[in-house]
């Protein structure tokens, strides 16, 4: 199976990503159980790696836009450029639209099962 650049990188990206809900020593050495919800506000809508605007309803968009407005008007933060209410663009190769290139594969060619995790 041929993989495009982005797929190859997505594959290595995935290799860095771990499951949540793990047991792991805390700073005091004690074990604690973590889930994404214990320490986070959840993943993006539809579990995408980025917040896709077109699938949001008006209320969801307004939440982002309000935060963007707060930052754009905050004199304490100087960003390289003003945040755009229309968002920023992510673009992958058109070849990656092909279904056969849209999965991560194991070295033996089998399709990896979808799993929960995070990036590092």
């Amino acid at each position: 199976m041929h993989l495009g650049n982005f797929q190859l990188r997505a594959q290595s990206y995935a290799s860095q990503i771990a499951n949540v809900g793990s047991s792991d020593p805390g700073s005091d050495g004690a074990e604690y159980n973590l889930s994404a919800d214990d320490i986070g506000a959840g993943p993006n809508l539809s579990d995408y790696p980025a917040a896709y605007i077109n699938i949001m309803n008006i209320e969801q968009r307004q939440l982002y836009m309000k935060k963007i407005d707060l930052l754009n008007n905050n004199p304490n933060i100087n960003m390289d450029e003003k945040l755009d209410y229309d968002g920023f663009v992510i673009s992958a190769s058109s070849d990656l639209k092909k279904k056969e290139n849209s999965y991560l594969v194991n070295p033996d060619g089998t399709i990896r099962e979808r799993d929960k995790g995070r990036c590092s």
């Binding site: 997505a10 074990e31 506000a41």
Partner: protein, 243 residues
């Protein structure tokens, strides 16, 4: 690797094919958790910071030279709008520039940043904080746990990155991972269900139990703010003016 990853083998996260199919090109917002963190770091008498999101890293993911992490082994959080690079920081009128050729200043700025992040609720603390490996001599360690003891309040999920290249000689990288990027409904809707704190408890619950909520009741109205609603410490949903 962040601490969520310790003890995990074969952890895999698939890039959803639906995401790839629509990404040619498509528009996205920056991570909501990242936006909220930046608001809280800087609002009012907060820090003054200067920096950028690095959105360009996601504008051509088919280009082999873009989008990668420093190590070159993955796609940067910047590409997905989940990262921010701070190159100047300050508390008063003057700003400290992160310039490793002046390591005392670099450390002073980093210390200021970590101390501030430690005051935020855990869900607004990033997954990754990357800085120059020169700072190892200032911390006298590169062990995350040891560094965290200097900043009570930092979540144990945070992964410190000590960059021994020159890439982070002029800035500090902050980013959120995929599963903590922030769901708009969880930060806004009445379906918010994963809190379970005791309203009589005004301290951060013990993270080690993994069973308690992480939010200070007094911060509820601040962090759970909606366009039309806000949560009260009684967990009743009431109308409020827009912020």
């Amino acid at each position: 690797m962040g601490r969520l990853g310790k003890g995990i083998k074969d952890g895999v996260r698939e890039i959803p094919k639906e995401f790839l199919e629509l990404a040619d090109p498509s528009s996205f917002y920056p991570s909501l958790a990242l936006l909220c963190m930046l608001v809280e770091l800087t609002e009012g008498s907060g820090l003054k910071i200067a920096g950028g999101f690095g959105f360009w890293r996601g504008q051509n993911l088919s280009d082999a030279s873009s989008g990668m992490t420093v190590k070159g082994d993955g796609v940067s959080d910047h590409a997905f709008g989940r990262g921010f690079d701070i190159d100047q920081i300050g508390e008063g009128q003057s700003l400290i520039k992160f310039d490793i050729s002046i390591p005392d200043d670099y450390y002073q700025g980093l210390d200021m940043l970590l101390a501030k992040i430690a005051t935020l609720p855990k869900f607004l603390q990033p997954d990754s904080i990357v800085f120059s490996s020169v700072m190892i001599t200032y911390f006298n360690t590169q062990d995350d746990d040891t560094i965290m003891k200097n900043y009570p309040g930092l979540g144990p999920h945070i992964d410190f990155g000590f960059d021994d290249t020159s890439i982070h000689n002029g800035h500090i990288h902050l980013s959120f991972g995929w599963t903590r990027a922030g769901h708009p409904d969880k930060l806004s809707a009445s379906s918010y269900t994963y809190q379970n704190y005791n309203t009589s408890d005004t301290t951060f619950p013990d993270m080690n139990t993994g069973t308690s909520g992480i939010y200070k009741p007094e911060n509820y109205s601040k962090y759970m703010y909606l366009d039309k609603y806000q949560y009260q410490s009684t967990l009743t949903l009431t109308r409020s003016t827009c912020r």
